[in-house]
Subunit: 528 residues, 2 copies
């Protein structure tokens, strides 16, 4: 058989590749042909050949800074990291019992969660296509467990609809899909879409919609066994004499449309929320600790950077003790990777170019608020059969997330009891920590009446009050216009962090930006 | 304020209940009003007051038999269990390295999986509304972990479509939903559904469909950032210079309709497959072992029941050694709970009523086949970023499920590499164990080209060849007509097992049927 690229199908081509070169080559061929998805992550770096005595200064020991430190140190560079806080990780952060946290404005919270419980104020999940973070977790022995994003038993709640009663996700999701499928199936069945759907496809579409929407043989989405198989029964399928189920009553499309419940039906279908999705066992900062074990010796903690200067072929950062404000010290290097959030960097005395300065100054940081409330028992599991997952509400708390760890255990559990952003976050930002918890309780108890009986303690983080970020993540005002300039070497400094990425707020964005900066820096240095 | 049931809304009624009686009463009221779902499980049994010296004989030490034994022993009855096999659990069964299994026809498989790997030939997941099973797990200390049903990175595959190349679930699911939403949104937008959807609702429906289907501002579902946010990008969102993503190409609705890929889009939306869903840590038979720890001392193993007779107010089972066929022994009791599958019971000499005999004889058992293949490494994770979940195919293997345990580990992993039922299962049943694995490899390698390079060992169970069930689960020929008679006391025997339930094939069905039988038996005895 002669090779004829015109006459060969992709399938037979792959067959030939497989026969000749084995599975690895075939998989590689599949990837090239666009069948297998590839990450922006280009695989593990293995930089080598750093010139002797080349000093790199890294500002910030968050994930971006520690990624850069790890890779550059491995390449043979002399690396030093200045970190404002007394610990590494930045927004990859976990609050546990015994921790204290002082926010801008002076409020200090002493966290009182029971052993094993925690709140992740920042990132809280890792999608399975965040290859760089997953790979570092594997290398550093950070154990992961499934995060539960979608729980069909969790609630959708609207204080102005359905008598303000929370509805199970499975009910609303099934009803909306069912009504949509019914409406379209009947139009197609009556030849109403001849222009858009061929006669050939129309019959298949009706069959597909019937299954998709759990329609009956008349293409109705109505109360019955078809719909109950997905939305649940009023009397469930059981065993013995009483085993026969009774169908549950479907909601009308109008009821759903005249609520906000439809707004979160596809949240879990978003690329970054899709199952399978993970969290570290024991809290998000286990990742920070994994990095810190590798590069902790390179980090100077409690170092508040006060000035950045480029002179000749050197870059110098001045810093004081973050605790005492004691005498200024300086650190000079050949190059710098700056991971300080622009919200903070804009307040530091620096000599970046006017163009870079303008970008730094033009980036507001997003508002977000998270509250964790510990309850005496896991009533959401015991009373309501909700194991992990997220309930959504139109109330300012926005959502309630149920801990996907230690499920089925007795004793106290911590809910992520509020996670608003934007305007709702500002409402909480303006309150004292105590008032915030009061408000979270007031709202949350409208969904879970057990709240007040079972309350134990609470903690919260208003991201605009976090002294070392002054917000949650960077918001580009004009990313099209500014992004490439922000990634360019400015003097002898490259920027890195989640803000220098198209994955803002995600750890993967921070790590990928650092890997990119490190590779480009190494190329610049070794090509000189 | 006077109480006026006619004028009070459900919400204000609940408010009053909450104010007066606290959260627990309020939750109870919510349940009564249909807001909270209730299981057929009526809570833990606490039977008391068994008359002295009342003997109960239980046939079969699967989950139904052991549930009955546990509850009746706790109530004070003298309980004996006869079990055909040398272990308890029945279909709640796990095959591990070192196990041997001999099937009908004489083939013996010596399982060679590495330490920690396993195949669950029978049940393999526990929905979060299977309250009875979950409660016994909690009581018996059986640890559970999330099972991954839906993985958006897993594949949908059709050997006759898309050039036989597997497509990611996220791509097909997004495309189908998008096209459906586009078609309906445009009809509604052009006032094509005035009769079915009010003018008021139409605008809301279009807005909801725009979000639901990831449509653009023109209500198109096309290649672009809206669709890629759900189906994935051709060049992913990243960090640094190269961070900007490129949209991926959507599939046309026609391409999807002219394949079988749409058939499994809502499988994970089925009530019994919905997230959150669990499996025991270490294999399904950890549940059997949990029960066995409680009631193992009541079980006589290797006891093959040969005859069941009702005489006077006694019931007697005769049995021989399942190994040696040695001299017949008998066990006599006041009552019997028989959990022997009807497929086997129909072959035993018994004196059940003609009506019950007819039901026993008329129940065929479903065909199902499972194969587990161990590979040298977890290529599905390492090469294809598939962590747990299920790929579906039109090939006879039907599906491939990726182990949701020990994810990210090095070394060998076991795929559930085939799980057909019906006609496809018969094809495998007819083959020798070796030939079955050959076939599974041939089919599976069309989805994962790494199969042959990475193959290590395989094991399979063809349920029609399992000597102690002769099939997978009971299929009612006319459940409407026969079910209640099958649950009725026949002589001094009650039937139990998954077949005596509306949850066939599920462990919950077996347990609920046993709980129902036990309660009714106790009532019968104590009311005499």
């Amino acid at each position: 058989m002669s090779f004829n690229p015109e006459g060969v199908t992709r399938r037979s081509f792959l067959g030939m590749v497989g026969a000749v070169a084995g599975a690895a080559a075939m998989y590689s061929a599949m990837s090239t042909m666009g069948f297998a998805s590839q990450s922006n992550w280009r695989g593990r770096l293995n930089l080598q050949g750093a010139p002797d005595n080349t000093n790199i200064l890294i500002l910030g020991a968050g994930l971006a800074g520690m990624t850069a430190a790890f890779e550059l140190r491995n390449a043979g560079y002399n690396v030093k990291v200045l970190e404002y806080r007394d610990k590494a990780g930045g927004r990859c952060w976990t609050l546990r019992g015994g921790d204290s946290y002082t926010e801008l404005g002076g409020f200090t919270q002493h966290i009182d969660f029971a052993e094993g419980n925690y709140l992740n104020p920042g990132p809280w999940r890792i999608p399975s296509d965040h290859f760089a973070v997953l790979d570092y977790c594997k290398r550093f022995g950070v154990k992961l467990e499934p995060f539960i994003q979608v729980n069909y038993n969790a609630y959708l709640h609207d204080s102005e609809a359905f008598d303000a009663q929370p509805q199970r996700f499975k009910e609303v999701a099934t009803d909306f899909r069912g009504h949509v499928a019914e409406l379209l199936a009947k139009v197609v069945d009556q030849q109403g879409l001849d222009e858009a759907v061929s006669v050939e496809d129309a019959e298949k579409l009706v069959a597909a919609l019937k299954r998709y929407g759990a329609l009956n043989d008349n293409l109705d989405y109505i109360t019955g066994s078809e719909s109950s198989t997905f939305r649940g029964w009023s009397h469930p399928e059981g065993g013995g004499v009483d085993g026969k189920p009774e169908p549950s009553q479907v909601n009308s499309l109008s009821e759903i449309l005249n609520s906000t419940l439809w707004r979160n039906l596809t949240t879990g279908d978003n690329l970054h929320m899709q199952s399978t999705i993970f969290q570290p066992v024991g809290g998000m900062d286990m990742i920070a600790k994994g990095f810190e074990e590798q590069v902790g010796e390179l980090i100077t903690y409690n170092a508040k950077v006060t000035r950045i200067r480029h002179e000749g072929d050197q870059v110098t950062a001045s810093w004081i003790s973050a605790d005492s404000g004691s005498n200024e010290q300086t650190e000079t290097a050949d190059y710098c990777i700056c991971t300080i959030p622009f919200s903070v960097l804009s307040q530091i005395d620096h000599d970046f170019s006017p163009r870079m300065s303008k970008i730094i100054d033009s980036m507001p940081y997003a508002s977000a608020f998270k509250a964790g409330i510990e309850f005496k028992r896991r009533f959401w599991e015991e009373d309501e059969h909700i194991y992990g997952g997220i309930s959504y509400t139109n109330l300012p708390i926005t959502l309630i997330s149920y801990p996907p760890y230690n499920m089925f255990s007795d004793g106290p559990g911590v809910l992520l009891a509020a996670y608003p952003w934007g305007a709702y976050a500002y409402q909480f930002n303006a309150l004292s920590p105590e008032e915030r918890i009061d408000k979270v309780m007031e709202y949350g108890s409208q969904i879970h009446p057990q709240y007040y009986d079972e309350f134990k303690t609470g903690a919260s983080v208003a991201w605009h009050r976090v002294p070392w970020t002054l917000g949650c993540y960077g918001l580009w005002q004009d990313r099209e216009a500014d992004y490439q300039d922000a990634t360019a070497m400015d003097g002898r400094t490259l920027m890195a962090g989640e803000h220098i990425s198209y994955l803002p707020a995600w750890m993967e964005g921070a790590v990928l930006s650092a890997l990119d900066a490190v590779e480009r820096l190494h190329t610049t240095i070794t090509e000189i």
